[in-house]
Amino acid sequence: MAGSQDTAARSGVTAGHATGSDRRERLRQFWKSDFVRSSPYWAIPLAIMGLAVYGGIIWNFLISLTDYEGFLQPPDYGHLDFEMYARALGDPAVFSTGKNTFVLLLAFTTVSLVLGLFLAILLDRDLRQKNTVQTIYLLPMALSFVVTAQFWLWMYNYDNGLVNTIVGLFGLGPYNWIGDPQLVLGAVIFALIWQFSGYCMVVFLAGLQSIPTDQFEAARVDGASIIKTYWRIIIPQLKSASVSAAVVLMIFALKIFTFLYAMFGTYRPPKGTDVLATLMVRQAFNLQNWAYAAAIATILLTMALVVVAPYLYYQYRARAL
């Protein structure tokens, strides 16, 4: 306000003109502000991401409220209801694939995190050849799903797969890892853990190395054992690292479709590994039940949010975020 009065006084014109030049001046200042001048650097990416990601999510949700199916009619946005969700909740296929998805999400994320933390602590204890070991563990992460899926399929071969050869050394098996519905989900989760625990290790290792050594020394002086030092002092400081690792892992768990498709070459993976993502693709692209598939997609998204949300909220409350 003061600024505008100044401008008005300086220019010495009538009140009407004053408002006009006042507006111009404000506009000029607005255009010169950091917010506007930096906008090409943030607004364009924001717009693209907003449209592609959130726009996509919203459109998907809208389609799930219609009765859109087949090729002949475009979706009718005039009659929106939750019929598809009601149908999904009563569909045993959604229930069983949802269960598989949940088990996969939880088991894969938890075991990868714990294993990654364990490896990171081992490496942090000044292991010889630390860099080599680190690279060896991280390397699987660099491989594409297509490659890892194919060679795990070979590893799980009943007759000449490496897994049966190894368990055979202990007098076990052979097991039909892929053909037995009781085992196959575990087999897939194990392959995923193999691929991603190295990533967790690197994230935790970076966290561990940012913790000053005097904390270790102080703990030692106070007579704390190594296990106690980690449990009480070090691991609690890795919370933000574990949040980021957990979020990335969950995203990969949701991308399980790629892995399953690369492994089995079909939208219908063997019994026991059918997840919401494969069910959704079959509904959409085999059967053209677009609205129903969109509803399943929304359920999948909600499930991921439900898993992540309490943790994020906890972190927020604990002021780690």
Partner: protein
């Protein structure tokens, strides 16, 4: 304290930023949401707009119906990306380009087994009102899903006399709502049992003596006792191979009429259970242990190597035997019999192309359709693919000996049960339900009763 407060308020402001951002995001989402809803009705006219594109197509049609086709390339999608299929389609497209050098074309392979990816690409493009001019599709019930979106090419059939010269079964499968909407290229026979001659000799089993599925089980028992080979190579990485086998047994045990009743939704569940029990006996006792992790090509290789005695497959398996480096030759190393019990039948599979109604290249589309029906296209493609031309007036001596035999069967038999696993006999919905039934209840552990219920429900939808 003050300093503490300072940092405290700092944190609060950062946290406020996070909170506000979250709030704004929510509002933004809601805003976008309402934006989308208001745009939604606009979307419908915009579809009309793409109908306007169709209008462009129409105007193109009016210019194209003249003798000169327009400059837009003819877009054709197919799924033959590897091995014999790729060689066959390569020959087909180069023949087309040779014959019509002035036509712009765009042949696009979309990989993936069982047309899975191709079908989803086509589904997406049809839903987006941007279909390719032509794509490879199993005819019969499979194309019912494309309903009113297919072009009527009856004039191509009539002008070229294909109505008289094409196999009548194939011609019938290419009709939808009374008009021709597909052009068949070749046929694969489904009811084959390929076997390794040496393994049968070692086991002392005379292939000619096997004439029923139960006889086949006896032969399997002998082979498993007398040789190191697995009686039957089988791949279970997808449910289609097992689905195929179940209905071979059904046909072999209960015959053509029972099969036709089943696909018409009027089947006898007890017969289905019997066929499933026989299949279960085969799968539990006589197949390779690693079936669940291998594809049909690997399974086929086991038979070629003598590690398995037999394999039940469509005659695309022959494409592998005739490859120059296969190491096996017809009747010396491998041989063929109709699946026991189905000797007088030809279980029909058809590879065809279908055509979209809304296309900007209607003249080229019909040129392509006409070309697919020519004798040369069918023979050259078939010889490379291991498939049988559907023209009834070709000189069968142009085919390889094995295919020539199959072609004679196609010309002379009376019973042509259409394949279920490859979309001729049942709609995509029913096929999906059949695969679900097999995938959930018949891929180990086996539950014949539940599978039969699933299969019965699938066709009665």
């Amino acid at each position: 304290m003050t300093a503490d407060n300072g940092t405290g308020s700092d944190t609060v402001s950062r946290r406020t930023v996070i909170g506000t951002a979250a709030g704004l995001a929510t509002v933004g989402l809601a805003g976008c949401g309402s934006g989308d809803t208001t745009e939604a009705p606009a979307d419908t006219p915009s579809d009309g707009g793409s109908g306007g594109d169709g209008g462009d197509g129409m105007s193109a049609e009016t210019t194209e119906t003249g003798p000169t086709p327009n400059d837009t390339a003819l877009e054709v999608l197919h799924a033959w990306t590897g091995g014999d299929g790729a060689a066959a389609v390569e020959k087909l497209t180069s023949m087309f380009k040779e014959e019509y050098p002035d036509l712009a074309t765009n042949f696009r392979p979309i990989g993936g087994t069982g047309n899975v990816n191709l079908d989803s690409v086509v589904a997406r493009r049809l839903a987006n009102r941007n279909p390719p001019a032509s794509w490879q599709a199993w005819p019969g019930e499979n194309i019912t899903q494309y309903g009113g979106l297919l072009a009527n090419i009856t004039d191509v059939w009539e002008e070229n006399n294909y109505t008289e010269t094409m196999n009548p079964m194939a011609a019938e499968q290419c009709r939808l709502n009374g008009e021709y909407r597909s052009m068949p290229l070749v046929s694969h026979r489904m009811n084959n049992l390929f076997y390794n001659v040496h393994v049968f000799e070692d086991a002392g089993v005379d292939p000619a003596s096997v004439s029923s599925p139960s006889g086949l089980l006896d032969a399997f028992e002998t082979i498993s006792n007398e040789t190191d080979a697995v009686p039957m190579a089988h791949a279970m990485s997808g449910p289609w191979t097992t689905l195929q086998l179940i209905f071979q047994n059904f046909l072999g045990m209960h015959g053509y009429d029972a099969y036709m009743s089943y696909i018409e939704g009027d089947g006898d569940k007890a017969l289905l259970v019997e066929a499933l029990e026989t299949t279960q006996e085969m799968l539990e006792n006589y197949i390779n242990n690693d079936a669940s992790t291998i594809s049909f090509t690997t399974a086929n290789q086991k038979m070629m190597d003598g590690n398995a005695a037999t394999i039940q497959q469509g005659n695309w398996a022959y494409g592998m035997y005739r490859a120059e480096d296969s190491g096996v030759s017809y009747q010396e190393d491998w041989d063929w019999m109709a699946y026991p019990g189905t000797e007088e039948m030809y279980m029909l599979h058809i590879d065809a192309f279908t055509f979209s109604r809304d296309t900007s290249t209607p003249v080229k589309q019909k040129t392509w359709a006409k070309f697919l029906g020519t004798k040369d296209a069918q023979v050259e493609f078939g010889n490379r693919k291991g498939a049988i031309p559907l023209r009834t007036d070709i000189d069968t001596s142009r085919l390889t000996p094995f295919l020539e035999m199959n072609a004679k069967h196609l010309a002379n038999y009376d019973q042509f049960p259409p394949t279920i696993a490859h979309g001729l006999a049942v709609s995509p919905n029913a096929l999906n339900a059949c695969k679900s039934a097999v995938g959930s209840n018949f891929s180990g552990p086996y539950d014949a009763e539940a599978t039969a219920t699933g299969l019965m429900d699938a066709v009665s939808q």
